[in-house]
Assembly symmetry: C2
Homo-oligomer: 260 residues x 2
């Protein structure tokens, strides 16, 4: 009687729903949580503006046959005197962890809380947040959680933009410009497949494409080891290409695995 | 069908066995773990010399009707690349946490691991480690563990010395001197019951008794709030009297609750 958990921050899109569908196929019970977790947002980030639409989310989840939706409020999750944190050290030092100090401490703490409260057999996360998957797998291993982390591929719009609740922030011109992330990743992937295996060369290819888009402002670009997330150099046989790009004021991330 | 967990570091004494007996009465299954957890020892502490006697422990636990004894080895609990920690902030800043930096991070991490692996309904700890109880209760609350922390009273030798695996370090003269901890606590408790409610006055009473014992070297003495563990001053209605005292090279702790 396996129980599947799909933790979300709500404002669901087809990426979330692909996780729900996968969980539905693999479990006899599916629980979805909706919680915009304040501790994973930095002080300058979009916690208060984060998009919310609970009635629509509930309708979507009901149609997909979710058994239980848990929508805790902030005071329930972080009551007076809260002071306990779960931290993963090494793999949080890079990429998103470097750009968003404290972000992963918030993620691992809330996911540990959800795991403890729900005690699922499997938990579902999207490859869109590639580092989050690495961090949570490490947490599960290190803390002896008897839970399988199941990862589903990135779901994209027809023009390649990775689905994200934050895409709603984009105006029409920005929405068009936002396709540049996947164009850069795909071009580097094609170059890799054509035999260009130099990490710096692949990053240069992506940088050039990002810089050709006027509305795009590159925050970081990376070719990293898939497990340790350490930056690679020289010839690579496999790796995680990832980036964070501001399109106007909206920060987008995307990634692609090469060599697997 | 409740499951009770009694985590220990082995070299069992009647204090541990009182926890096992209580767990046996309250659960249909009782699991005891024996693991000398390296991450809760400081670099100058007694990790390698910590007393061990697994055959004797197993015999004692079998007699008490424990269903399962889990004795993980170090590599099993802290495998290559281990990097995840559970930390409780505020209540670990005082007392033992202040004297033993990193100690409670080790305790909360290993207990979280045992909780996740065993998924007990109740877990048993001794009041001897009074701060540990406060820290673990906070962890359970903050991280949504559906586990009840059950605390059993300190078990003492006939002359009042609190049972501890470390008492084996004491030579005969030190063993005699070690009774000074409980004598100090008991005298302060009697003064409190007789109407002396001044925190500093109670601490002075204990200090004088400790300093009268030549082999004793006081590390700290405290009259603290039972929940926050913050040091109290002025008139107190209830509190935790606690101390750490070196008897020769052996560090002993003891405590008593007043006003409850």
């Amino acid at each position: 009687m396996p129980v599947g958990l799909v933790p979300t921050m709500g404002f669901l899109h087809d990426g979330h729903l692909s996780l729900v569908d996968l969980a539905r196929r693999q479990n006899s019970s599916v629980i979805t949580t909706i919680f915009v977790n304040p501790t994973q947002f930095g002080p300058q980030e979009d916690l208060e503006g984060y998009p919310r639409d609970i009635p629509r989310d509930l309708e979507l989840l009901e149609k997909r046959g979710v058994d239980l939706v848990w929508i805790p409020d902030r005071e329930e999750m972080y009551s007076k005197g809260f002071q306990t944190w779960v931290t993963v050290d090494d793999v949080t030092r890079f990429l998103e962890g470097k750009m968003r100090p404290g972000h992963f401490r918030g993620v691992t703490t809330i996911v540990a809380k959800l795991f403890n409260a729900v005690m699922p057999d499997k938990a579902y996360f999207g490859q869109k947040d590639a580092q989050q998957v690495v961090v949570l797998r490490r947490m599960v291993m290190d803390l002896n959680y008897p839970i399988e982390i199941v990862v589903a591929p990135i779901v994209r719009e027809e023009d390649g933009l990775a689905m994200s609740s934050r895409n709603v922030y984009l105006n029409p011109a920005e929405r068009q410009a936002a396709t540049v992330l996947f164009r850069a990743l795909k071009t580097a992937d094609q170059a890799f497949k054509a035999g260009n295996r130099d990490a710096d060369g692949l990053k240069r290819i992506m940088e050039e494409i990002i810089s050709s888009e006027e509305l795009a402002n590159l925050q970081y670009i990376s070719c990293a080891d898939m497990d340790s997330l350490e930056e690679l150099s020289g010839q690579v046989n496999r790796g995680l290409l990832s980036m964070a790009v501001f399109i106007g004021k909206t920060r987008l991330i995307d990634n692609i695995l090469i060599g697997i």
